[in-house]
Amino acid sequence: MERDAFLRRAAAGTFPDAEEVDPGALVPEGPAGDLVECFCDELAAAAGTPHRVATMDEALEVVLELMDGHHTFMARGHLPVPGLAGRLIHDGYHIVGSDVPKDAGERKRHQLDYESLEVGITAVDGLLAESGSIVVTSGRESPRMASLIPEVHIALATTDQMYRSLSHFFSERPGAVTQGSNMVVITGPSRTGDIEQTLTLGVHGPRQLHVIVIG
């Protein structure tokens, strides 16, 4: 259908009481007190695993522990722990390439490699205390697949990335949504309750979500 004709049909709505209220965003107060503690509690409640560490070295230790028993990982760009990917490669872990070719056939062949991917390591763009969520945006150095395909997702964050709630994040970082082609707010690991409402983790996305909060 022609756009103009369609839009004319969309102009049919009349809601006498609709104009009276200013419909803009509302930002509720959100949680108070120690936001990092609140974040960690909420993440645990959402079946994720928080790790609170003081230094980069401690963060690296946690990553190395979590990598134990796995063989492959995906990581890219500037992570809060400098030199992390190099260290893992040095320790004998295999890094899976994250550049997906444009050609249809090559794309599929490349993506089939992801079936053997075990761990994805990413940075975050924000932490939400109220819900225990992490915000991750896609970008040149931030593939979407790293937080999506592997069974284990390790997210590295610093305490200064903390926001009270999703509403606070949107109001303080309005540009984040359109910074890349994708922004995802992740709250715990992949889950379903579709079969008799029995909570099951790791349906299509990660079964484990570890968030390492540094500082």
Partner: protein, 460 residues
Amino acid sequence: MTSFLERARADIGTAPIVAVQSGARRFQIHRLTAVAEYAAMDDMRDRARAIRLHTLANLDRYLSQFADAVTSNGGRVFFAADATEANDYITRVATDRGVRRIVKAKSMLTEEIHLNDALERHGLEVIETDLGELIVQLSGDKPSHIIAPVLHKTRFEVGELFRDQMDVPYTDDPEELNAIAREYLRHRFLTADMGISGVNVAVASTGSICLVTNEGNGRLSTTAPRIHIAVMGMERIVPSVGDLGVILEVLARSATGQKLSSYTNILTGPRRPGEPDGPDELHVVIVDNGRSNVLAGSTAEILACIRCGACLNACPVYKVVGGHAYGTTYQGPVGAALTPSLFDLDEWADLPYASTLCGACLEVCPVRIDIPRLLLEQRRRAVDAKVGPMWMKRPLQFYASIATHPRRFRRLLSVGSLFGRLVRSGWIAKLPWRGSAWTDTRDLKAPGRSFHARWRRRGT
């Protein structure tokens, strides 16, 4: 076509309905807990309502802004007047680009327009990837709840289905069934040419679309394939990112009792130059299919719905008859209020009667849609068009002829006192004939003395 009553009679009391009942109760408890913990809930519901009504009142402006933004992000927009236009467009994109395999994230709208049938007619392989929707697809069933499609199925049925359809050993352990589905779908995701999703909320100012899922299939379907097609109802939009935040804060809490679903996924255009992954093509198909008629009519408020499913879980009728009795894509109170306006009034005129008008749906609605009022309005429309269930007509005419004449009314009341013989200590334990449908399962409170009688005896 069968009527609501026929479908409901066939289902009531069966095992699937018992499953629906306990599922809906569990959803209700989760919602109550989440709402009690969130002090801002009432304010946010008011704001969410204001945002939705404001958008609907200016829908042409916001759709136009949205379409421009999608285009400047590098996506394409197609306006579909009805199901045929939408299905034709999507099929054409698929066949033009040599698509063979399509993965789909959960979308009620694509159920409504029967998109899968259209694609399969053209020899395309379509795979539902939401676990519930996959079970529905493999069993040739229909969803029974807008956010939990297989609320009516037991794990034993799913076990048998997977054994028969996927050639795996039988198990009824949900963990194992889940692992089977993950395995089954994984390489299908990675080798699909096209991903099709719905849209929970679109943002006019940025041209973004938001998909809310728990499983991650919404993210995979919109990341792995080279083409992403998002199909959205024309009403599914808000003005700004801040408004999106308000909707998201009330959506998951009302739906599953989560503060936020596992994945709140916001997509703005296809992958950009330099980005390592994501689809290279994005098409947004904006569908009318009867919505502009609803918008222009007396039940337009129902378009404010954000599809959380809370009204289904709260509804005493839904919990007794289950989702299939409604016979439509959208079940429960919202379905009964929407369907007769969206589609043929003639065919769906009995749905608004599937309600006790108790108001539970209004009480839980995150955007405070006055569903009881809309159900009454639908009944009025049906009566005006002379298509409603007409068996109520004669009894009501009889009642009106008495209630408008005081003398007749008093005489009937004295006849009513004959029931007194059946009364034991204020309760009637057994009624004859059709009345037994009530008294077989519970006692009936006997009518007390009439207002007139008490008024006459006042002060004595």
